[in-house]
Protein backbone atom coordinates (compact mmCIF):
# COMPACT_ATOMS: atom_id res chain seq x y z
CA UNK A 1 0.00 0.00 0.00
CA UNK A 2 2.64 2.50 1.12
CA UNK A 3 4.79 1.44 -1.79
CA UNK A 4 1.96 2.08 -4.17
CA UNK A 5 1.33 5.56 -2.80
CA UNK A 6 5.01 6.43 -3.07
CA UNK A 7 5.23 5.06 -6.60
CA UNK A 8 2.10 6.85 -7.83
CA UNK A 9 3.26 10.06 -6.18
CA UNK A 10 6.55 9.80 -7.99
CA UNK A 11 4.82 9.22 -11.31
CA UNK A 12 2.55 12.22 -10.78
CA UNK A 13 5.56 14.37 -9.91
CA UNK A 14 7.29 13.20 -13.07
CA UNK A 15 4.27 13.95 -15.24
CA UNK A 16 3.96 17.34 -13.53
CA UNK A 17 7.59 18.22 -14.27
CA UNK A 18 7.20 17.13 -17.87
CA UNK A 19 4.21 19.44 -18.24
CA UNK A 20 6.28 22.24 -16.74
CA UNK A 21 9.17 21.62 -19.13
CA UNK A 22 6.76 21.66 -22.00
CA UNK A 23 5.19 24.89 -20.78
CA UNK A 24 8.53 26.73 -20.59
CA UNK A 25 9.76 25.66 -24.02
CA UNK A 26 8.72 28.40 -26.42
CA UNK A 27 7.29 26.33 -29.22
CA UNK A 28 5.06 28.37 -31.48
CA UNK A 29 4.60 27.18 -35.00
CA UNK A 30 1.53 29.31 -35.61
CA UNK A 31 -0.96 26.64 -34.80
CA UNK A 32 -2.49 26.51 -31.35
CA UNK A 33 -2.45 23.23 -29.53
CA UNK A 34 0.48 21.60 -31.28
CA UNK A 35 2.81 20.24 -28.65
CA UNK A 36 4.80 17.17 -27.87
CA UNK A 37 2.78 15.93 -24.92
CA UNK A 38 5.77 14.60 -22.97
CA UNK A 39 3.57 14.12 -19.91
CA UNK A 40 1.69 11.46 -21.81
CA UNK A 41 4.88 9.41 -21.71
CA UNK A 42 4.27 8.90 -18.00
CA UNK A 43 0.63 7.93 -18.58
CA UNK A 44 1.51 5.44 -21.34
CA UNK A 45 4.25 3.89 -19.24
CA UNK A 46 1.97 3.69 -16.20
CA UNK A 47 -0.74 2.05 -18.28
CA UNK A 48 1.59 -0.85 -19.00
CA UNK A 49 3.67 -1.03 -15.84
CA UNK A 50 1.27 -0.06 -13.05
CA UNK A 51 -2.19 -0.77 -14.38
CA UNK A 52 -5.21 0.94 -15.80
CA UNK A 53 -6.55 2.52 -12.62
CA UNK A 54 -3.18 3.96 -11.64
CA UNK A 55 -2.65 5.42 -15.09
CA UNK A 56 -6.08 7.02 -14.95
CA UNK A 57 -5.42 8.61 -11.55
CA UNK A 58 -2.02 9.88 -12.63
CA UNK A 59 -3.50 11.41 -15.75
CA UNK A 60 -6.32 13.21 -13.93
CA UNK A 61 -4.28 14.42 -10.95
CA UNK A 62 -1.61 15.76 -13.28
CA UNK A 63 -4.12 17.76 -15.30
CA UNK A 64 -5.71 19.29 -12.20
CA UNK A 65 -2.33 20.16 -10.66
CA UNK A 66 -0.97 21.67 -13.86
CA UNK A 67 -4.24 23.52 -14.38
CA UNK A 68 -4.03 25.20 -10.98
CA UNK A 69 -0.32 25.90 -11.15
CA UNK A 70 0.43 27.07 -14.67
CA UNK A 71 -2.84 27.96 -16.34
CA UNK A 72 -6.46 28.78 -15.72
CA UNK A 73 -9.77 26.99 -15.38
CA UNK A 74 -10.37 27.35 -19.09
CA UNK A 75 -7.27 25.53 -20.16
CA UNK A 76 -7.94 22.93 -17.49
CA UNK A 77 -11.37 22.12 -18.88
CA UNK A 78 -9.77 21.88 -22.23
CA UNK A 79 -7.02 19.57 -21.01
CA UNK A 80 -9.44 17.35 -19.14
CA UNK A 81 -11.47 16.75 -22.29
CA UNK A 82 -8.37 15.97 -24.30
CA UNK A 83 -6.86 13.90 -21.51
CA UNK A 84 -9.94 11.79 -20.88
CA UNK A 85 -10.70 11.09 -24.53
CA UNK A 86 -7.06 10.25 -25.07
CA UNK A 87 -7.02 7.94 -22.05
CA UNK A 88 -10.23 6.21 -23.16
CA UNK A 89 -8.80 5.61 -26.63
CA UNK A 90 -5.55 4.24 -25.21
CA UNK A 91 -7.41 1.97 -22.81
CA UNK A 92 -9.53 0.55 -25.63
CA UNK A 93 -6.48 0.19 -27.83
CA UNK A 94 -4.59 -1.65 -25.12
CA UNK A 95 -7.50 -3.96 -24.27
CA UNK A 96 -7.94 -4.91 -27.91
CA UNK A 97 -4.50 -6.48 -27.61
CA UNK A 98 -3.83 -5.79 -31.27
CA UNK A 99 -1.51 -2.82 -30.97
CA UNK A 100 1.93 -2.35 -29.46
CA UNK A 101 2.75 0.57 -27.16
CA UNK A 102 3.31 2.71 -30.25
CA UNK A 103 -0.17 2.07 -31.67
CA UNK A 104 -1.74 2.77 -28.28
CA UNK A 105 0.21 5.99 -27.92
CA UNK A 106 -0.76 7.11 -31.44
CA UNK A 107 -4.43 6.59 -30.54
CA UNK A 108 -3.81 8.70 -27.44
CA UNK A 109 -2.16 11.54 -29.34
CA UNK A 110 -4.79 11.61 -32.05
CA UNK A 111 -7.79 11.58 -29.73
CA UNK A 112 -6.23 14.05 -27.33
CA UNK A 113 -6.30 16.63 -30.08
CA UNK A 114 -9.75 15.62 -31.28
CA UNK A 115 -11.08 16.12 -27.74
CA UNK A 116 -9.51 19.55 -27.49
CA UNK A 117 -11.01 20.68 -30.78
CA UNK A 118 -14.48 19.54 -29.71
CA UNK A 119 -14.28 21.41 -26.39
CA UNK A 120 -12.84 24.51 -28.04
CA UNK A 121 -15.77 24.40 -30.48
CA UNK A 122 -18.23 24.33 -27.60
CA UNK A 123 -16.41 27.02 -25.61
CA UNK A 124 -16.34 29.60 -28.36
CA UNK A 125 -19.67 28.50 -29.80
CA UNK A 126 -18.51 27.85 -33.31
CA UNK A 127 -17.93 24.77 -35.38
CA UNK A 128 -15.43 26.69 -37.51
CA UNK A 129 -12.66 25.62 -35.21
CA UNK A 130 -12.71 22.35 -37.13
CA UNK A 131 -10.35 24.21 -39.44
CA UNK A 132 -7.53 23.13 -37.15
CA UNK A 133 -8.46 19.48 -37.35
CA UNK A 134 -6.10 18.22 -40.09
CA UNK A 135 -2.94 19.77 -38.69
CA UNK A 136 -3.74 18.83 -35.10
CA UNK A 137 -4.62 15.29 -36.14
CA UNK A 138 -1.36 14.85 -38.02
CA UNK A 139 0.65 16.35 -35.18
CA UNK A 140 -1.15 14.02 -32.75
CA UNK A 141 -0.11 11.01 -34.82
CA UNK A 142 3.48 12.25 -35.05
CA UNK A 143 3.92 12.95 -31.36
CA UNK A 144 2.10 9.69 -30.59
CA UNK A 145 4.74 7.76 -32.51
CA UNK A 146 7.60 9.51 -30.70
CA UNK A 147 6.06 9.10 -27.24
CA UNK A 148 5.08 5.51 -28.03
CA UNK A 149 8.59 4.60 -29.09
CA UNK A 150 10.11 6.17 -25.97
CA UNK A 151 7.48 4.44 -23.82
CA UNK A 152 8.28 1.10 -25.41
CA UNK A 153 11.97 1.49 -24.61
CA UNK A 154 11.24 2.51 -21.01
CA UNK A 155 8.75 -0.31 -20.43
CA UNK A 156 11.12 -2.95 -21.81
CA UNK A 157 14.05 -1.71 -19.74
CA UNK A 158 12.12 -1.44 -16.49
CA UNK A 159 10.62 -4.90 -17.00
CA UNK A 160 14.09 -6.30 -17.61
CA UNK A 161 15.60 -4.68 -14.53
CA UNK A 162 12.71 -5.87 -12.35
CA UNK A 163 13.22 -9.47 -13.41
Amino acid sequence: MTGRIARNGMMIALAFIFSYIEAIIPFHIGIPGVKLGIANLVVVTALYLLGEKEAFYISIVRIVLVGFTFSNLFSMLYSIAGGMLSFGAMLLGKRMKKFSVIGVSVLGGFFHNVGQIVVAGFLVGTARIIYYFPILAISGIGTGIIIGYLGKVIIERINRSVE
Binding site: H28, G30, I31, P32, S71, N72, F74, S75, Y78, K98, F99, S100, I102, G103, V106, L107, F110, A120, L123, V124, G125, T126, A127, R128, I129, Y131, Y132, F133, P134, I135, A137, I138, I141, I145, Y149
Partner: protein, 121 residues
Protein backbone atom coordinates in the same frame (compact mmCIF):
# COMPACT_ATOMS: atom_id res chain seq x y z
CA UNK B 1 5.91 -1.31 -34.24
CA UNK B 2 3.76 -4.23 -35.38
CA UNK B 3 1.57 -4.59 -38.42
CA UNK B 4 -1.59 -3.35 -36.71
CA UNK B 5 0.24 -0.22 -35.53
CA UNK B 6 1.24 0.57 -39.07
CA UNK B 7 -2.31 0.04 -40.36
CA UNK B 8 -3.65 2.30 -37.61
CA UNK B 9 -1.14 5.06 -38.38
CA UNK B 10 -1.86 4.87 -42.09
CA UNK B 11 -5.65 4.96 -41.60
CA UNK B 12 -5.42 7.96 -39.26
CA UNK B 13 -3.05 9.72 -41.66
CA UNK B 14 -5.43 9.14 -44.56
CA UNK B 15 -8.29 10.66 -42.56
CA UNK B 16 -6.16 13.71 -41.72
CA UNK B 17 -4.80 14.21 -45.21
CA UNK B 18 -8.24 13.74 -46.72
CA UNK B 19 -9.71 16.44 -44.48
CA UNK B 20 -6.77 18.71 -45.30
CA UNK B 21 -7.35 18.16 -49.02
CA UNK B 22 -11.03 18.92 -48.59
CA UNK B 23 -10.14 22.20 -46.93
CA UNK B 24 -7.60 23.27 -49.55
CA UNK B 25 -10.16 22.44 -52.19
CA UNK B 26 -12.90 24.65 -50.78
CA UNK B 27 -10.77 27.60 -49.70
CA UNK B 28 -10.30 30.73 -51.78
CA UNK B 29 -9.04 34.27 -51.11
CA UNK B 30 -11.39 35.92 -48.64
CA UNK B 31 -12.89 39.38 -48.87
CA UNK B 32 -13.89 40.12 -45.31
CA UNK B 33 -13.32 39.00 -41.78
CA UNK B 34 -16.17 38.17 -39.49
CA UNK B 35 -15.60 38.67 -35.79
CA UNK B 36 -17.75 36.80 -33.31
CA UNK B 37 -17.67 37.01 -29.54
CA UNK B 38 -19.11 34.12 -27.58
CA UNK B 39 -20.83 32.84 -30.72
CA UNK B 40 -22.53 36.18 -31.46
CA UNK B 41 -21.66 38.43 -34.35
CA UNK B 42 -19.50 41.39 -33.39
CA UNK B 43 -18.65 42.91 -36.73
CA UNK B 44 -17.57 42.45 -40.31
CA UNK B 45 -14.51 44.16 -41.75
CA UNK B 46 -13.17 44.33 -45.27
CA UNK B 47 -9.78 42.80 -45.97
CA UNK B 48 -9.21 45.33 -48.73
CA UNK B 49 -8.48 48.25 -46.45
CA UNK B 50 -5.68 48.27 -43.94
CA UNK B 51 -7.09 48.87 -40.50
CA UNK B 52 -6.75 48.26 -36.81
CA UNK B 53 -9.79 46.90 -35.03
CA UNK B 54 -10.17 46.95 -31.27
CA UNK B 55 -12.56 44.37 -29.91
CA UNK B 56 -14.04 44.77 -26.46
CA UNK B 57 -15.38 41.30 -25.77
CA UNK B 58 -16.11 41.91 -22.10
CA UNK B 59 -15.39 44.53 -19.44
CA UNK B 60 -11.64 44.28 -19.41
CA UNK B 61 -11.03 41.95 -22.30
CA UNK B 62 -9.52 43.46 -25.37
CA UNK B 63 -8.21 42.10 -28.64
CA UNK B 64 -6.59 44.12 -31.37
CA UNK B 65 -6.84 42.80 -34.90
CA UNK B 66 -4.75 44.28 -37.66
CA UNK B 67 -5.65 44.02 -41.33
CA UNK B 68 -2.74 44.59 -43.66
CA UNK B 69 -2.21 43.58 -47.28
CA UNK B 70 -5.38 41.47 -47.48
CA UNK B 71 -4.61 39.40 -44.45
CA UNK B 72 -5.44 39.72 -40.80
CA UNK B 73 -3.61 38.93 -37.60
CA UNK B 74 -4.06 39.43 -33.89
CA UNK B 75 -1.70 42.11 -32.70
CA UNK B 76 -2.57 42.20 -29.05
CA UNK B 77 -4.82 40.38 -26.63
CA UNK B 78 -5.61 40.88 -22.98
CA UNK B 79 -5.41 37.18 -22.21
CA UNK B 80 -2.47 35.47 -20.56
CA UNK B 81 -1.54 32.70 -22.93
CA UNK B 82 -1.43 34.86 -26.10
CA UNK B 83 -1.91 31.81 -28.31
CA UNK B 84 -3.91 33.90 -30.77
CA UNK B 85 -1.14 36.48 -31.10
CA UNK B 86 1.28 33.75 -32.15
CA UNK B 87 -1.10 32.41 -34.76
CA UNK B 88 -0.40 32.85 -38.43
CA UNK B 89 -1.90 35.56 -40.60
CA UNK B 90 -5.20 34.60 -42.16
CA UNK B 91 -6.56 35.60 -45.56
CA UNK B 92 -8.31 32.65 -47.16
CA UNK B 93 -11.94 31.77 -46.63
CA UNK B 94 -12.49 29.50 -43.68
CA UNK B 95 -9.25 30.40 -41.95
CA UNK B 96 -9.71 31.41 -38.34
CA UNK B 97 -7.93 33.01 -35.44
CA UNK B 98 -9.31 31.97 -32.11
CA UNK B 99 -8.77 33.59 -28.75
CA UNK B 100 -10.20 31.04 -26.36
CA UNK B 101 -9.96 32.99 -23.08
CA UNK B 102 -11.86 35.96 -24.54
CA UNK B 103 -14.06 33.76 -26.74
CA UNK B 104 -13.17 35.83 -29.77
CA UNK B 105 -13.23 34.16 -33.17
CA UNK B 106 -11.99 35.86 -36.31
CA UNK B 107 -13.02 34.11 -39.47
CA UNK B 108 -12.27 34.95 -43.08
CA UNK B 109 -15.36 34.91 -45.26
CA UNK B 110 -16.24 35.58 -48.88
CA UNK B 111 -17.78 38.76 -50.22
CA UNK B 112 -21.47 38.25 -49.64
CA UNK B 113 -23.18 38.89 -46.35
CA UNK B 114 -23.29 35.63 -44.48
CA UNK B 115 -26.12 36.61 -42.16
CA UNK B 116 -28.09 33.40 -42.73
CA UNK B 117 -25.04 31.32 -42.11
CA UNK B 118 -24.45 32.92 -38.75
CA UNK B 119 -27.94 32.22 -37.54
CA UNK B 120 -28.00 28.60 -38.64
CA UNK B 121 -24.39 27.89 -37.82
Amino acid sequence: MNRNDKILIIVLLIISIFSLGLQKWIEEPGKQILVTVNGKKYGQYSLDENQRIIIHSAKENENIIVIKDHSAYMEEASCQDLVCVHQRKVGKTGETIVCLPNKVVVEVIGGQDEEVDIITG
